[in-house]
Amino acid sequence: MEKAIAIQMKGITKRFGEVIANKDADLDVRKGEILALLGENGSGKTTLMNMLAGIYFPDEGKIYIDGKEVVIRSPRDAYNHKIGMIHQHFKLIDVYNAIDNIILGESFYFDEAANKAKIASLKKPEGNESRKEKFKRNIKLLAARLEKAGAYIKFNWLSRNRGEDIRAIADKYGFAIDLKKKIYDMSVSEKQTVEIIKVLYRGADILILDEPTAVLTPQETKRLFDVIRNMRDDGKSIIIITHKLNEVLSVSDRVAVLRKGEHIATVNTAETSETELTEMMVGKKVVLNIDRAEPKNPIDRLTVSGLSLINKENVKVLDNVSFTARAGEILGIAGVAGSGQRELLEAIAGLQPAATGKITYFKPESNEAVNLRAKTPTQIREMGVRLSFVPEDRLGMGLVGNMDIVDNMMLRSYKKGKFFFVDRKKPKSLAENIIKSLEVATPGTNIPVRRLSGGNVQKVLVGREIASSPTVLMAAYPVRGLDINSSYTIYNLLNKQKENGVAVIFVGEDLDVLIELCDRIMVICGGKITGIVDGRSATKEEIGLLMTKGRQMEQSPSTVGQRG
């Protein structure tokens, strides 16, 4: 039986400047179903849902709820339409417990009629009352009047049993949670639970979960899915944003696939397959025409073995990672965002001292093995290891936004100045060189880099990192947010480094680029390496499966294929 449609989005378009996040997207959600919203990173899933949650406002298109057109301007509007979204980054107050977070900001409805009736009844004396009774009645009357005034200024008490309603919701859907626990004591999964209960408590009938399983263990994921199914059976509509195929197949009723901001199709889960979904998600292979030379004399430059890392939240972000990067070769790293790519590169660069395992560097001159683990960036440099790192967060880590180009050039070399002083001459000529050779569009060298456009910022950063003639070059998402031309500049730079015999490690999100650019592609999922494939023979589907299959690998690690 077809269920009634709860929400319909029609022709939604959303632009951010030049970038089109959603283009003429349609979507409908039925009552009492779990809809999976599937797509690669950057396919516009989250943006589309943010328009339902009142974070963004669509440029074009209409939203209908129960067949009526609605306007959603703010999260508050979304709540009024019974839409609640659980964002990837939780919005919780750390020092509050679960209950306080759930009731935070809740508009308080004062039952004025009941209060009026109460005052009226208290005004009348009940037959013959003693002075004591009269006194009591007057006190009560005063209290009732104050109640009204108090409600007006939100002075209502947090009643001792205010947790009861919330407890009831939690029990109804089978959440196991201690509501008195402080958020800072909670695991990520508990925090997520609080967010879900908060949304339910506000009366949401349509729940949107953005990548809910990204941070969960397999057991927690299973429990979450049980809860989600309970909610569906209760008649609620649930939208799960995800790019994990196995989850889509196991939990959803229907799947809507987005690609590059467009809605490709919505299919019934029961009638589809992994292959079909992958095809819809990644699309036809795009020919990019990136030159790829055969690696010359690929000798081992950097070997990582058994690297593990547990982060501050006590989550294992890297799990027994082993691989080798070779000179004269580009090693691609593919994986959904947040699978441990950042931590892996930071561990190699000496920014994650807590990592365990082995990171060995082979000096090009002598082939002498040097241990890099648990060394600071300064120590690494002092050992003569020429390691360059283009981090994901360009202006927050790789560069200082408020400093000019010359000063940013100095970040790597300021210690080379004479005695006590810094030398700005060499960085200045370096800056001029980079501006010239990489065609950085800037009025001059003394302009704060934050004023440059994204592509030019990246050229400055990559230019600086290459300038120190590295033997290992790590680049995390170096073309994210860049236009086509700038992207090609970066690809060419990486290729040139490769030809010069540098071991290049490239973390990318666009599989087409990875396949065209890299000699080998390592796939990481949930902090584990799920496979290393040859860039020349690999297909997108193959990599896509490795990217999403991490959880299944646990049962059958023997299928990890290492080719090439």
Binding site: P377, Q379, I380, N402, Y414, F420, V422
Partner: protein, 365 residues
């Protein structure tokens, strides 16, 4: 339909952070703020004194420039304020909110006074001055480094910590005065020893020269040295500092040592160069004013010459206005407070622009 509904519910203007204000526009905004501050100060003084608008400015300028002594006073006061402003600047650049310069300079002054009390007349004057310098710097460094150590190790809130240290320093001064002055008057008279030599007959000249040299040195330190560079990186982005391998704890402590050294010199200037005594109010709130001076100059030592000049000019000029019109000696504080409000508020207009929605709508259509 939707868009009309949207505009009806949204505010008419929005505040947008602006990124690329041309430098001369930014200075124009600041100049406008200074001028309007002066105008409003004039208006307020007319209201308070019921005298002509112009006479306020005449008094103001007379108070600062009329006699040679006043001009010397002006430069002397600027040098003291500037010295303490220089002291707080490196730490601010690092986003370490040290509001304890008052106390840090005070213990410097106390230590140099202590040297005079115990050694004055017993050792040659030159040696005495060197000893005063050493003691002042040592005391101030200790005062400045204690909060820095806790900040580096346990991230203890430095604003509140340094604030409290001011009052401990004040009590310490009061204690020592009572130890030294047995009469119980609580006032340490003018010390006979440990005076800076008068250069060319000018008593304050050495003060001014020292601070001028320090200004250049601090400017060079921040702009030209590796330390200064590290300070800016730590202040701008801790993540970047980590990325290039800067030891943040070390930088915090080292910078506060520098603050201590400069505060110690300020204390020495106060005792040896200016007041030749020490009291709980020797620093006279300059530790706090210095924060404003440094902030208004965007932590640039050369601009700080200008901002400290403006503050001292107003202080001294308004004091003259108060004398001329027989107003309370608190009058300068009111004028300076209002001046600060204008300058502080003008930063908003330099950093943000207000866009009106109606104009935006028309563009779209």
């Amino acid at each position: 339909m939707k868009s009309t509904e949207k505009s009806a519910r949204e505010p008419f203007f929005q505040i947008v952070k602006r990124d690329n204000l041309v430098w001369w526009k930014a200075w124009l905004i600041r100049a406008a703020a200074v001028i309007s501050a002066f105008l409003v100060c004039g208006i307020v003084s007319v209201i308070l004194t019921k005298r002509g608008f112009g006479s306020f400015y005449v008094s103001l300028f007379k108070g600062v420039f009329q006699t040679e002594r006043r001009i010397w006073n002006l430069f002397q006061n600027i040098s003291l304020l500037l010295c303490i402003s220089l002291a707080v600047t490196p730490a601010f650049k690092m986003r370490f909110w040290n509001i304890g310069a008052e106390g840090q300079a005070l213990v410097g002054a106390l230590a140099s006074a202590a040297i005079v009390v115990y050694f004055g007349g017993k050792v040659p004057e030159a040696l005495l001055l060197v000893m005063m310098f050493g003691a002042a710097v040592a005391a101030s460094v200790i005062w400045a480094v204690i909060p820095a150590l806790f900040k580096a190790q346990w991230n203890t809130n430095e604003t509140l910590f340094t604030l409290m240290m001011n009052y401990v320093a004040k009590s310490l001064v009061a204690y020592f005065i009572n130890v030294w002055v047995t009469s119980g008057s609580g006032v340490l008279g003018v010390l006979k020893f440990g005076h800076f030599p008068a250069i060319g007959g000018y008593a304050y000249l050495l003060n001014i020269i020292i601070v001028a040299v320090l200004t250049v040195l601090v400017y060079m330190y921040l702009k030209k040295t590796k330390h200064g560079y590290e300070v800016s990186v730590v202040g701008e982005s801790l993540n970047t500092a980590r990325y290039v391998g800067i030891n943040v704890k070390k930088v915090i402590i080292r910078t506060m040592v520098l603050t201590g050294v400069l505060c110690g010199i300020a204390g020495l200037l106060l005792v040896a160069g200016t007041s030749h005594t020490v009291a709980t109010n020797t620093v006279g709130g300059r530790g706090f004013t210095a924060i404003l001076v440094s902030w208004l100059a965007k932590f640039n030592p050369l601009y700080m010459i200008l901002t400290s000049f403006m503050v001292v000019f107003l202080q001294q000029g308004a004091a003259q206005v108060a004398t001329d019109y027989r107003l309370s000696n608190a009058f300068p504080d009111i004028i300076i407070g209002m001046f600060f409000f204008f300058i502080i508020a003008c930063e908003f207009f330099a950093n943000y622009s207000i866009k009106f929605r109606l104009a935006k709508k028309e563009k779209k259509a």
